[in-house]
Amino acid sequence: MAHYKLRTPLTELDIRRLRVEDTVAIDGVIFGIRDATQIRIFDRGVPPPADLTGAVCLHTAPGVRKRPDGTYEKLSIGTTTSTRMNRFVPGLVGKYGVRAIIGKGGVLEDSVAAMARHGAAYFAIVGGAAALTTKQIEAIERVWWEDLMPECFWQFRVKEFGPLIVAIDSHGESLYRRVRERAEQRVKEFRLK
C-alpha cells in the first residue's frame, strides 16, 4: 500500500502505477456528475460541457445556496452510490477520456474491464462523509445545466482531496469483487441452525 498525491488532469502513467488498496489525494479540479447529468450525456446525446480528457469525476448532487451574483456557495457536498450509474462508466472512460471516478459502493465488472482497457481507476471515498468532503472542496468554480439542479454538471476546485482508497485499479483488480467473493464463500460455509 502506497500513498500518492495526484494533480489534475491525470495522465495514463498516473493511473497505471496505482494498485488496489493504495491511497491517493487530489489537487486541482474535479467534476461533479450524477444520474440525470449522465442520462443527458449518454441517452440524450448532449456532449459534456467541459473537456473530460484526464478528468476526475465525483458522483454527487451537492446541497448549495445560490448567491445574488449567480455563483454557488457550498453547503453540503457528499458522495452517492456509484453502482446505480454503472452503465455510464464505459462511456466516460472510453469515449471522453475520464481517468478516475470517485464514488462509493463501487461499479460492476463491465466497468472494471473498461477501466483496465482505457487506463482509468475508481477511488472509494467514505460515503456519507460530507462534512469532510465539503471542507476539502475549496470552491464551486463553474456549473452547467442548472435546469437539472441539484444534478447539474459541477466543477469544483479541490486541495488535498482525500485520502481516497484505490478500490478498482487499471489492471482489472477490484477490491469490491475480492470482498464479495470472499463473503459469498463464507456464507456458504456457515452451518446455520
Binding site: 448532487a61 446541497g63 457528499g78 462509493k104 469532510l132 475480492r178 470482498v179 446455520l192 441452525k193
Partner: protein, 330 residues
C-alpha cells in the same frame, strides 16, 4: 382548518400561523406556544438535529469498530472508520450536516392517550415543520414524483413526510421521533415470504444473503433492521423501526429474538464485507429485530438497512408546549 398541501413557506416566516396570531397576546406578554405551534417547531428542529448530531450510541459503536480494526491490523478498514469519526467531529465543530443526503423524512409520533388533539392539524404541522426545515436551512430537497421524477422542492409531497402515528396510554404528552432516511441504505430493502418449514435457518440465510447482496452500497458499517412475522406490510414497517429508531446496545425484549439478534450480528461480521464494503470485521454495528405474530402458513422476513450515521432525533412536548430534546429510544 384548511389543508395546505405542498406549501413552500418563505425563509424566515414567523413561527405562528395566521389564525393563531390573531389570538396572540400583546407584544411583550410572556406566552408559551400552543401545542400545535410546538409540534411545528419540533418537526423543523428535529430534521436539523438528526442531520447534524450523531447519537452517542452510534459514535461509541464506531469507535469500538475502529479500535478492533486497528488491533487486527486492517489498514483500509481503520482508515475508513477513522475518516467517518473525523467527519462526525468536523460536522460538530462546524455545526454542519454530517452527510449530504437529507433523506426522506420519517416522523414517528406517539400521542398521549389523555390528550384531546386535532390529529389532522397535528399531521399538517409536521408537514409544515418539514417544509420550513427545508426552506430555511436550506436543505437539499429529494422528493420527486415516482413516474415523472418532477421535484416538489420541499422534502414533502404526496405521502411524504412518512408519519407513523401511535398512542401511549395514560400520558398527556407527545413524543416525536424523527429520522431522515438516506437513500443508499433505503435502496437496500428486502422482503421474502418464507415457508414456515424454512424456520429459523431460513430466516438467517435470507438476512445474510441480503447483507452480502447489499455489499458496499448501504454505507457499512450498518444497522441491520429485521422485521419478523405480521403481514407483509407490517414486516417491512417493523424492519424500518428496528433499523432506524432503536439505539445500538438495545436488545429485543423476547429472549429468543434477542438470541437471534446476537447470532446474526456475529455471522454478519464474519462475512468480511467491512466498512464501506472494502473488507474488514465491522460490517454491522448492530442487528435489531422487531416482530409480530403471523399466520400459521406464513414466515415473513423483511430487512431494512441503516447507514453508519444512524441518524435519529427525538423530542417530548408537554400539553403547554414545553419541549425537551434527546436522541430518543423506542
Amino acid at each position: 382548518m384548511t389543508r395546505r398541501d405542498f406549501v413552500q413557506l418563505p425563509a424566515g416566516a414567523p413561527l405562528m400561523d395566521d389564525h393563531r396570531a390573531a389570538q396572540a397576546p400583546a407584544p411583550g406578554a410572556a406566552r408559551l406556544p400552543t401545542i400545535y405551534e410546538a409540534v411545528e417547531a419540533v418537526a423543523r428542529e428535529l430534521y436539523w438535529r438528526a442531520l447534524k448530531d450523531i447519537p452517542p450510541d452510534v459514535r461509541a459503536a464506531l469507535r469500538g469498530g475502529l479500535q478492533s480494526e486497528r488491533q487486527s491490523g486492517n489498514a483500509t478498514a481503520g482508515q475508513v472508520l477513522f475518516t467517518i469519526l473525523e467527519n462526525i467531529r468536523t460536522a460538530d465543530e462546524q455545526d454542519t450536516l454530517v452527510c449530504q443526503d437529507t433523506g426522506l423524512p420519517i416522523y414517528k409520533i406517539l400521542v398521549g392517550g389523555t390528550l384531546q388533539l386535532d390529529i389532522p392539524e397535528l399531521k399538517e404541522r409536521i408537514r409544515r415543520g418539514c417544509q420550513r426545515a427545508t426552506a430555511e436551512y436550506p436543505l437539499r430537497s429529494n422528493t420527486v414524483h415516482p413516474l415523472t421524477r418532477k421535484h416538489t422542492g420541499t422534502n414533502t409531497g404526496q405521502g411524504i413526510p412518512v408519519i407513523m402515528l401511535d398512542f401511549i396510554p395514560g400520558t398527556d404528552h407527545i413524543e416525536v421521533h424523527m429520522a431522515p432516511k438516506g437513500s443508499g441504505s433505503e435502496n437496500m430493502s428486502f422482503l421474502r415470504m418464507l415457508n414456515p418449514e424454512e424456520g429459523r435457518q431460513g430466516i438467517k440465510k435470507f438476512v445474510l444473503d441480503c447483507v452480502v447482496a447489499s455489499g458496499a452500497q448501504p454505507c457499512p458499517p450498518v444497522v441491520v433492521g429485521v422485521g419478523l412475522g405480521g403481514t407483509s406490510d407490517l414486516a417491512v414497517q417493523l424492519a424500518k423501526e428496528a433499523s432506524t429508531f432503536r439505539p445500538i446496545g438495545s436488545s429485543n425484549g423476547d429472549p429468543d429474538v434477542a438470541q437471534l439478534e446476537r447470532e446474526l450480528l456475529g455471522l454478519i461480521n464474519q462475512t468480511g464485507i467491512g466498512p464501506q464494503g472494502l473488507g474488514g470485521a465491522t460490517t454491522a454495528l448492530a442487528v435489531h429485530i422487531e416482530w409480530a405474530h403471523t399466520h400459521i402458513t406464513q414466515n415473513p422476513v423483511a430487512v431494512n438497512m441503516q447507514c453508519w450515521r444512524g441518524e435519529r432525533a427525538h423530542a417530548v412536548i408537554t400539553p403547554e408546549g414545553k419541549v425537551t430534546y434527546s436522541h430518543g429510544a423506542l
